[in-house]
């Protein structure tokens, strides 16, 4: 499903590699926490999977396709198989909840019929069925993140990448978001979530990949955040 082989990423401005000879494999349908302190390489890991950046050396494979050799015009196709959620939601503030979700389908040329059908479905799934016509500014943080998840999931991606999705939310709201991500994972979607939230990691007991200074310090199935916390 997803495979990194001896991946090293050097940014021009930095002398230390952001990822240093990282090799790992993630199977279809897995739920993986990516943990580590700031600057440990979590974001670089996710960026490489999206082909927002290319590794300096090593190969990244997603869905059987080697990203290193992928041409620029094939990248949109890759990204249509992946959904992204961020700490800051990244919603369009002048569009309603339903329009935000529909936007993701419109710009990849989905027919209007399909959009009319699937947008209410996904909004119901994330628990926002009554708020389709609200603007993001009128929603709570947790609700806004649900919109973002709906947008990431509406095209039924194979992989959902979440970069600190609960970073701006209180523990109770975070729990709701995690239940939603678990539910998405149960549909067969691989979920990779970068996080600092040890409560969540400890309570869910899923696979944990810990990065430290660009190398994998720990890769544990049913892991916890770390000792001494």
């Amino acid at each position: 499903m997803i495979e990194l082989q001896h991946v090293t990423k050097l940014y021009p401005a930095s002398s230390r590699p952001a990822l240093d000879d990282v090799s790992t494999e993630i199977d279809k349908g897995e739920f993986v926490f990516l943990i580590g302190s700031s600057g440990s390489g979590k974001s670089t890991f996710l960026r490489l999977l999206l082909k927002e950046d290319d590794p300096t050396t090593g190969t990244v494979t997603v869905n059987g396709k080697t990203l290193n050799t992928m041409s620029k015009w094939q990248v949109p196709k890759l990204r249509r198989t992946m959904g992204c959620v961020f700490q800051d939601f990244r919603l369009l503030r002048n569009r309603t909840v339903a329009q935000n979700v529909a936007f993701a389908l419109e710009v990849i040329n989905k027919p209007q019929r399909t959009i009319k059908r699937v947008v209410p479905e996904v909004l119901e799934m994330v628990g926002l069925e009554g708020k389709a016509n609200r603007l993001p500014g009128e929603l709570s943080g947790g609700e806004q993140q649900r919109v973002a998840i709906a947008r990431a999931f509406v095209n039924r991606p194979l992989v959902l990448l979440a970069d600190e999705p609960t970073g701006n939310l209180d523990p109770e709201t975070s729990e709701g978001i995690m239940l939603l991500l678990e539910r998405i994972n149960r549909t067969g979607t691989t979920v990779i979530m970068a996080t600092h939230d040890y409560h969540i990691v400890d309570s869910m007991r899923r696979r944990v990949i810990e990065l430290n200074g660009g190398v994998i310090a720990r890769d544990q199935s049913r892991g916890v955040y770390g000792v001494g916390r």
Binding site: P76, V107, N109, R151
Partner: protein, 294 residues
């Protein structure tokens, strides 16, 4: 491609950067208008060459005290010369008549010129216009009733080099203005891309194609280019109606200056429009490739 989506993006983009859009349209319009003027002058020059070069090549002006014998001798010499293709005699009266016609727009000048001030002359067309020197040598100035031999071609050459200079200057200014327009388009597109960075970031992440993301920006520039071109064509039409057709009516009627006809404007309008739309779109595309991550 969802046409509505793209068009609404274009409209939003143009409205959001209204001042930049107006500046972009105006500089484009001025540049294209000057380019059109340059093309019109070029057309006019070639029309004028046809009018003038065909007529007269060498004028032999006769002295005031020329005798009938001298005049007849000159005429005989012209008739016998193998260098002369044809010649025409113009009396003092005829010269004055032509003068009145040419300067009908300047009545003071006509009034202050006595009818006998203009010399009689032979207008000579040469077999080979380059061989002016030979004719000049045959009729030395100030002898045998000849006052002066003048190579009209030489005068026309100077006139046309002046007109060519005017055309080149116009086109040079048009090019500089076009450069300003292109830089302004580039800036506007960067600003538009910055304003819409949230939308384009999301489009990139959900896998919208490059074209889908870039097209609204390119169309935005092309539309501004088109509006600029329309303004430029409007400016040319106004120049023709208000300046050329009115102020220059006299010389045009007298056949000194060729008229600017609608056909010429109709001919250059699509060139202007194509240049406006094409250059704007290319500038936008290059800007997106170089400066904007989409």
């Amino acid at each position: 491609m969802r046409v509505n989506f793209v068009l609404s993006e274009v409209a939003t983009g143009l409205r959001r950067n209204l001042t930049m859009t107006v500046a972009m349209i105006l500089t484009t319009a001025i540049s294209l208008g000057l380019m059109g003027t340059g093309l019109l002058i070029a057309g006019m020059i070639s029309d004028m060459k046809e009018i003038y070069y065909d007529k007269v090549q060498v004028s032999i002006f006769l002295a005031d005290d020329v005798t009938d014998e001298q005049r007849a001798a000159i005429e005989q010499q012209l008739a016998d010369s193998s260098e002369v293709a044809s010649y025409l005699y113009e009396s003092k009266d005829e010269a004055y008549e032509r003068f009145q016609q040419q300067f009908s727009q300047q009545p003071e000048l006509v009034q202050n010129t006595p009818p006998d001030a203009l010399p009689e002359s032979f207008r000579v067309e040469l077999v080979n216009p380059e061989r002016y020197e030979v004719i000049a040598a045959e009729f030395p100035n100030g002898q045998n009733g000849v006052d002066q031999v003048r190579d009209e071609g030489d005068f026309l050459d100077r006139l046309f080099s002046l007109l060519n200079g005017a055309r080149n200057a116009t086109i040079a200014v048009a090019v500089v203005q076009a450069l300003a327009a292109l830089l302004l388009i580039s800036n506007t597109i960067q600003l538009a891309a910055f304003n819409r960075r949230n939308e384009t970031n999301i489009m990139r992440l959900v896998g919208a194609s490059r074209w889908y993301t870039q097209l609204p920006f390119i169309l935005e520039a092309a539309l501004a280019g088109l509006i600029g071109a329309l303004l430029a064509v409007g400016g040319l039409v106004l120049t023709k109606v208000l300046f050329v057709d009115k102020t220059l009516a006299g010389p045009i009627k007298a056949g000194i200056i060729p008229p600017v006809d609608w056909g010429a404007i109709a001919f250059i309008s699509p060139i202007i429009a194509g240049a406006g739309v094409g250059l704007a779109a290319i500038a936008a595309y290059v800007t997106l490739r170089l400066y904007v991550r989409l």
